[in-house]
Symmetry: C2
């Protein structure tokens, strides 16, 4: 069937890391302040990289990915949905519903900076981290801290939906 | 394995209908105003009855169900999660995170009453339908209209999370 080419589990995860290389740009769902239900976490994370959705786009089959992730994935592995293997050409990627974007942007993260730990909305997280200024080297984990030598705009789900 | 006893697809759906009998009390996700992404819909619907979560509880494995659905299901089929077959005793069902309950209660439904069609938040839907008064027989579909001869409180996800 159409799913046969999908690599399972760990092997796929390693592949994907090499394709997307987004670890320093995207945010880990472990930053979320609340212990949200498993299926909800799945709904707000990228089906390619498992980070919190950054500038998400939706496939015709209804799955969600960071825009850069699905484009890189499609170039490397062909235009099929990484979640369900249905056809997924770049031309048919669409913005998710505005109502969904509002929910995503309203998720509250815990600031990982030492001596802060404040709860910050996803759509304010870039500015918040920026305000911490030079404290960028405090060694938080994957996707946990501000990216090195980059702006913070990559955190924002810039796509407002439609 | 532990999943072997789970009945797939249609057969299971018919079973479950007979166990929960919640069609006239719960709301169909087709009432949602926005075309929300597939995984998000899964996150706000009951893994037993597929209606919008009503008074949801969370299993130790992180799956969500209407309280009445998982209790009826457990009594009929034993204390295993209907989504993943892990142990799911009634005593370990917990309220979902408050942040999730806020998102659920803020979902906007389209009022199915003829000549209304207004967008109404889930947590205001019962009162809204009640205000339509005697127009309760307009023949909307499954889970679409006010229940016959009942109050409207059953619509509310009364559990505020914790
Ligand atoms: Zn990523
Ligand atoms: Zn991604
Ligand atoms: Zn898909
Ligand atoms: Zn901070
Ligand atoms: Zn139901
Ligand atoms: Zn249910
Ligand atoms: Zn489960
Ligand atoms: Zn109405």
């Amino acid at each position: 069937g159409g799913r046969a080419w999908l690599k399972p589990g760990l092997q796929r995860a390693l592949w994907v890391k090499n394709i997307t290389r987004c670890k320093s740009e995207h945010l880990s769902p472990t930053l979320l302040l609340d212990r949200l239900p498993a299926d909800f976490l799945r709904a707000v994370t990228c089906q390619v990289c498992d980070h919190l959705l950054a500038d998400p786009v939706q496939s015709p089959c209804g799955h969600l990915f960071c825009r850069t992730c699905i484009l890189k994935y499609g170039r490397a592995l062909g235009p099929r949905c990484p979640a369900c293997a249905l056809p997924c050409p770049a031309s048919e990627l669409a913005p998710p519903a505005k109502a969904f974007m509002g929910i995503l942007q309203g998720l509250v993260l815990r600031c990982p900076q030492r001596e802060c730990g404040e709860g910050v909305r996803l759509d304010a997280y870039g500015a918040h981290c920026h305000a911490h200024g030079g404290d960028e080297d405090e060694g938080v984990g994957e996707g946990g801290g501000p990216p090195q030598g980059r702006g913070f705009d990559c955190y924002l789900p810039v796509n407002k939906g439609g």
